[in-house]
Symmetry: C2
Subunit: 239 residues, 2 copies
């Protein structure tokens, strides 16, 4: 299959590498391919420049967001950060029409709010926007009515999403939500190819609210485990 991954950050790279390993063709989307390739320093998250990653994964095909989306057979994984996702995806709505889009972003706003200065153990708590009565997943679906949006992958680090067996022998649970059954099935099939055996369909895309808001609990659990900087754990739904 030819799958598009939008984004070149650490999470997107996990999917790009895994999809190549599984024998897929991978088209990678970025805002400005030339600018992405010209960077020589690590980004603010400490991720090495994408050019170095590309040198190790030469089969990945770097294009603009729109060209990558259009080139995919039908499945697009969005690794665009939550703050930029609606705008970036709306700008290529025509290229995403008819495709399945898996969104795994948390709509964090990394700005210090003077009226809410309480520090968390992991620094100032990034605020979520939207939260509670809406979700990024639903916002993307409303902005892209011709695209089938699935929310998934968002409840843990992408490094463990693409390698579930690295945590507790894979005995943890992955969640999907969306308003289109066929698109959810594509996400579930992909997850099974990643090695997931416990995949719970939460139902409609409104459940993206709970998945995104779980970000605070995920951070707190990571702190409780002493894993502040990129957690290596999952949660299992125990019946």
């Amino acid at each position: 299959m030819k799958i598009a991954v939008l984004g070149t950050g650490g999470g997107a790279r996990c999917h790009i590498a895994k999809l190549l390993e599984l024998g897929h063709e991978v088209v990678v989307g970025t805002r400005d391919p030339r600018a992405t390739l010209s960077r020589t320093e690590p980004d603010m998250m400490g991720t090495p420049p994408f050019g170095r990653f590309l040198a190790e994964h030469p089969a990945a095909d770097l294009r603009t967001f729109g060209d990558a989306a259009a080139a995919s057979d039908g499945l697009v994984i969005s690794g665009i950060d939550g703050h930029s996702a609606v705008n970036a995806l709306s700008a290529i709505a025509d290229r995403l029409a008819g495709k399945t889009l898996i969104d795994y972003a948390v709509p964090f706003i990394y700005q210090h709010e003077p009226e809410h200065p309480w520090p968390t153990p992991w620094g100032i708590m990034p605020k979520l926007e939207p939260v509670d009565t809406d979700s990024l997943g639903e916002q993307i679906q409303r902005a892209l009515p011709r695209t089938k949006v699935v929310k998934s992958f968002v409840t843990q680090e992408q490094s463990t999403v693409v390698n579930p067996a690295s945590v507790g022998d894979g005995e943890h649970t992955m969640f999907v939500a969306g308003d289109h059954m066929d698109a959810k099935q594509q996400a579930i099939d992909l997850l099974k190819s990643y090695g997931w055996t416990d995949i719970l369909d939460l139902g409609q895309l409104v459940c993206a609210r709970g998945m995104e808001m779980y970000a605070h609990m995920h951070s707190a659990i990571g702190f409780g485990l002493g894993q502040q900087f990129g957690g290596h754990f999952g949660i299992k739904v125990v019946r």
Copy 2:
């Protein structure tokens, strides 16, 4: 030990019954004991009148919120609903001074918001207030600076909190958060006496945000499992 349980709803009753079973003296607090005892119809959640429960648990000692709190040896469990908790507890701040208060409420607001009418699979999504940049647990701690507040129990139904072995042989995780180590230890000791073996200390009370916001995910998981009306499951943190 003489433990106070504030509230007479379904969740509070789980703790009252379990604490009596474990041999504790239990003082139950309610706003107006006479009014509580005069009710003969189930409440809006379908819970039978408290008088019937009391007839089956005659050792439980029903008093006002303040008298119950003052009578406890030092441990108070608040089963007051999230919308009322800050006001009800502030009104008895003197009686709670020096005690440990375990709060397990979710600050749901059960009001329909015309601007956010999206229905969820489980009905209209109750809104959380506070959310994201504050939590009910922190609000209670600020309102009661002489009381040691612990947030716990909130991530699942109280029927499974007091009987962890009823879910997956007890192989799931309970969380605690709070700013006072000795108070957290009291909560942990209580949880161990309930049968919990996997108790994760998330850290400071700020982590109550994640625990309360997990309510949406909990509802969504319940829906995914086909358990809309009172879930019978837990989550296990898998390392």
